[in-house]
């Protein structure tokens, strides 16, 4: 959650009239627990721990090269996870991001080859934002369940991508010295351009979610949609906006990946929706919505990436990657639950 919203308890002046709302002190969580409950701190801690252990075990682990690779390789899913965080905080879910990612690549390459990098960006944002708009309208205005709506677009958009590429027969690529390719392959201070774009987007949306009325509205709608409606918020418009942002960001991520690969692939990014959800959850955002942290999501994304580096260093069969990721997911969510003092059921 955002500054000031971390649930810290301010000491109250004793003795003033109406002092009945004082919480019994025995129920107060310890400072440590409260710190860990702060969204994302647990993921960040785990990340630091893994990094320290990895660095101690293998000298190549903490090399700049490794950092460069891990960050670049995960910047795309990272951008996808931003939109996913917004949607989840608003109480929804978006399963279509993987397909939209592929669409973004195809549209971006088409746009670049028919008018240059600006057209590529514009077309990607518009086309993928339109998918988000469709999702958002079906969810917000027609009252359909987000899970099933975006499941349908997961299928439908992938079909559209096949249609556009003639089932992969028409592959489009871009010249590797074009500005478009630079977006994916260029480096600043030896780090890939997508890494900086992702960091910039994280910063921007961190502020949006935590410090703007729109972000507060997103959190409130996730907390209680009916209350948000009765309080006069434009619930439907905000919901639609989150899906539009999510679609557009997934498309942009796909476009950047296409730029890195200097070509678009229609089969890319299957299963990204689950990876993004996993990253968001590991980052401490509850799937029930209401609050969430982009810093946590960022930590979650990098954490999953670092696990992959671990597997490489351990020389394990890559099949173990999924087993370890799955196990790790369980450990993290169980930890989060155990740290959560409020009783369940």
């Amino acid at each position: 959650m955002m500054p000031g919203g971390d649930g810290s308890v301010v000491t109250q002046e004793p003795g003033s009239p109406g002092a009945h709302a004082v919480r019994p002190s025995g129920r107060l969580p310890s400072t440590f627990t409260r710190l860990m409950q702060r969204d994302g701190v647990a993921a960040l801690t785990a990340l630091v721990l893994l990094l320290v252990v990895g660095s101690l075990l293998w000298p190549s682990f903490h090399s700049l090269d490794n950092a460069r690779n891990t960050l670049l390789g995960n910047s795309y899913i990272g951008i996808v996870a931003i939109g996913m965080t917004l949607v989840i905080v608003s109480g929804g879910i978006d399963l279509s991001v993987g397909s939209v990612f592929a669409l973004g690549g195809v549209i971006g390459v088409y746009g670049n080859n028919h008018g240059g990098v600006l057209l590529a960006v514009a077309m990607t944002v518009v086309a993928c934002g339109a998918v988000g708009l469709l999702n958002g309208v079906l969810v917000g205005y027609f009252g359909l369940a987000p899970f099933i709506v975006t499941l349908a677009t997961l299928f439908g958009v992938r079909g559209l991508v096949y249609q556009l590429t003639n089932a992969g027969a028409t592959t489009a690529s871009v010249p590797s010295d074009s500005t478009f390719a630079y977006l994916g392959t260029g480096t600043w201070f030896t780090f890939g351009v997508p890494v900086f774009l992702a960091i910039g987007l994280y910063a921007a949306f961190h502020l949006t979610l935590g410090r703007t009325p729109f972000g507060l509205a997103v959190q409130s709608i996730g907390g209680s949609e009916s209350a948000a409606t009765l309080m006069g918020l434009a619930v439907r418009r905000v919901k639609v906006s989150t899906y539009v942002i999510c679609g557009a960001l997934a498309g942009v991520a796909g476009m950047l990946q296409a730029a890195q690969l200097v070509s678009a692939s229609p089969i890319i990014a299957t299963g990204y929706e689950l990876q993004a959800i996993a990253a968001v959850v590991i980052g401490g955002t509850l799937l029930t919505g209401g609050s969430g942290s982009l810093l946590g999501t960022a930590a979650g994304v990098v954490l999953l990436g670092v696990i992959n580096s671990f597997i490489v260093e351990l020389q394990l069969d890559s099949t173990w990657n999924n087993v370890v990721s799955g196990g790790f997911l369980i450990v993290v969510v169980v930890m989060q639950r155990l740290l959560n003092y409020r009783r369940s059921t």
């Binding site: 000031g4 649930g7 308890v9 009239p17 709302a21 507060l216 209350a227 409606t229 309080m231």
Partner: protein
């Protein structure tokens, strides 16, 4: 204390010939209402009469099927609650309508947040303003803590503060006092007086007649979705108001202890419920008491005193740090309501919506839920027995519905409460814990519920009655245990069983402390 309103002046807000139906129910049938500047307008009626629906139509939550709204005599259509709010109509809906995961400050300023020069939200300013606002209404709460961590009453007061802080010309309050205690009710009335002085028009819904007569100028009575009376309140006799609401006379009501003192002290009756030294760190501190068959024991105290927690502990809904609960002399396992229920304990939860009803299931499923084990054999449910039980209780408790298949979520609050009662009664319990059993139910139903409780006690049940209404507690109990910060501070019996004594016992431990409890 009626302020001079001006009925001759043009109405601020007016509804003409409003109709609204839900599948199977005509909730509003040709209802008209006009609201004038500086007027406090009572809107009353039985549970399910259509009060909340009218308010929702007035404020853009539901579109009406027919009829027209006028705001300052201009025909209007509010497409959303937001639109009504923007037009200066501020509403406290019947459900507590704040976002539980957000802080009090954010709830207060949601939609109109103070901004810094960069256009970002200025949380420092927001928190400062929120603290000032809550101080103004004597609400003690941490403005940065999530709302869900505050008590129900505090939440309700924050909802009031939010509604009033919006610069409004109409303020609508749907049962604002149902979860408030006496002191907060006074604060609220102060607020209403100030609003009235500013010329704000107010619609006030409550089932508590005392309150209506204290603050309202006009009254509109709804029955079965139809308007049956509208006019000045002063001069309208109470009994006549009630008769207009119900369409019949009220049941006679008795004061319990005046006539049953002796029999409840029967020396032979062994206690059926024995609570010994139950302790839950920070919440309950070494509480002991016993309830005999046929006895109604009241639990009194301020909000957060631990009454609900005590009830939950007796039901075994939570683990205890120490102490035991015994039914019929046998200790019941803590942490397992099913064991307690099997032993004969039943509890009516305080928060009907969150802890009571299964909204999308039928009345039938709701009633038999707890009794399933005894209505089935070898894990298979007997439809015949279920139908029998459901029919019996729907009749006995006068549950108004299209049939046993109606979803409970679509019933009015009072009827939901009766469904809850039916769920407990078909268990044939020995010990009945009733947590705020008459909260939010109309006068007719309230007397029915109270009479039912008396009958149950007479039939030999042990009843633990939790209520924030001192009158209900005093009239309905044989003995009142007063809790404060999780400790038993007093037990009222015999002569001390009066409202004055109860208020004094609840407010302070030492008789000399005036009104400031020495808390920390």
């Amino acid at each position: 204390m009626t302020f001079s309103t001006d009925p001759g002046s043009p109405p601020v807000l007016e509804a003409r010939g409003v109709n609204k139906e839900f599948p199977g129910v005509k909730a509003l049938d040709d209802v008209s209402l006009s609201l004038h500047k500086g007027e406090v307008h009572a809107l009353v009626g039985e549970n399910g009469a259509g009060k909340s629906t009218l308010i929702k139509v007035l404020t853009g939550v539901y579109p009406q099927d027919a009829g027209q709204l006028f705001h300052h005599q201009v025909p209007v259509t509010f497409r959303s609650p937001g639109a009504a709010q923007a037009a200066g109509i501020s509403t406290i809906y019947q459900e507590v309508n704040l976002v539980p995961t957000q802080s009090a400050a954010r709830n207060l300023y949601l939609g109109r947040e103070p901004r810094t020069r960069l256009g970002l939200i200025d949380f420092t300013a927001m928190h400062r303003a929120a603290r000032e606002l809550l101080d103004e209404y004597s609400i003690r709460a941490d403005v940065e803590a999530p709302l869900a961590s505050l008590g129900l009453g505090t939440q309700q007061m924050i909802a009031v503060a939010r509604a009033v802080a919006i610069d409004a010309n109409v303020v609508i309050m749907d049962e604002p006092t149902s979860s408030l205690e006496a002191r907060e009710v006074e604060t609220l009335f102060g607020v209403i007086d100030r609003l009235r002085a500013r010329g704000v028009a107010i619609i006030y819904v409550s089932h508590r007649l005392d309150e209506l007569y204290r603050i309202c100028d006009t009254v509109t009575v709804l029955r079965d979705g139809k308007l049956v009376h509208t006019g000045p309140l002063a001069g309208l006799p109470r009994l006549q108001l009630v008769a207009t609401m119900l369409g019949r006379e009220l049941l006679a009501q008795t004061k319990r202890h005046s006539e049953s003192d002796e029999q409840s002290e029967g020396p032979y009756a062994e206690p059926v419920l024995e609570v010994r030294n139950i302790t839950r760190r920070g919440v309950l501190d070494n509480i002991s008491f016993a309830v005999r068959p046929g006895e109604i024991v009241g639990l009194g105290g301020l909000l957060g005193a631990g009454r609900t927690e005590t009830g939950m502990a007796v039901l075994g809904a939570q683990d205890l740090d120490a102490g035991t609960v015994a039914v019929d002399g046998r200790v019941v396992r803590a942490g397992s309501p099913s064991a307690s229920i099997a032993a004969g304990v039943a509890l009516l939860p305080e928060d009907r919506k969150l802890e009571g009803i299964l909204p999308s299931l039928s009345i039938r499923d709701n009633i038999v839920l707890a009794a399933l084990p005894r209505l089935s054999r070898a894990g298979l449910v007997s439809d015949r027995k279920v139908d029998e039980v459901v029919a019996t209780f729907m009749k006995q408790l006068h549950i108004r519905a299209t049939g046993p298949d109606q979803k409970v979520g679509t019933l009015s609050g009072g009827n939901q409460q009766k469904v809850m009662l039916a769920r407990l009664l078909c268990l044939n319990p020995k010990v009945l814990i009733l947590d705020e059993p008459t909260r939010g139910i109309d006068v007719g139903a309230k007397t029915e519920v109270r009479v039912t409780i008396d009958e149950l006690a007479a039939a030999g049940l042990a009843v633990l009655l939790i209520s924030s209404e001192t009158e209900e507690l005093v009239d309905g109990s044989d003995r009142i245990i007063v809790l404060r910060e999780g400790q038993v501070t007093d037990v009222l019996t015999g002569d001390r069983l009066s409202e004055d004594e109860l208020v004094r016992a609840i407010a302070s431990v030492e008789p000399d402390t005036s009104e400031e409890p020495t808390d920390d």
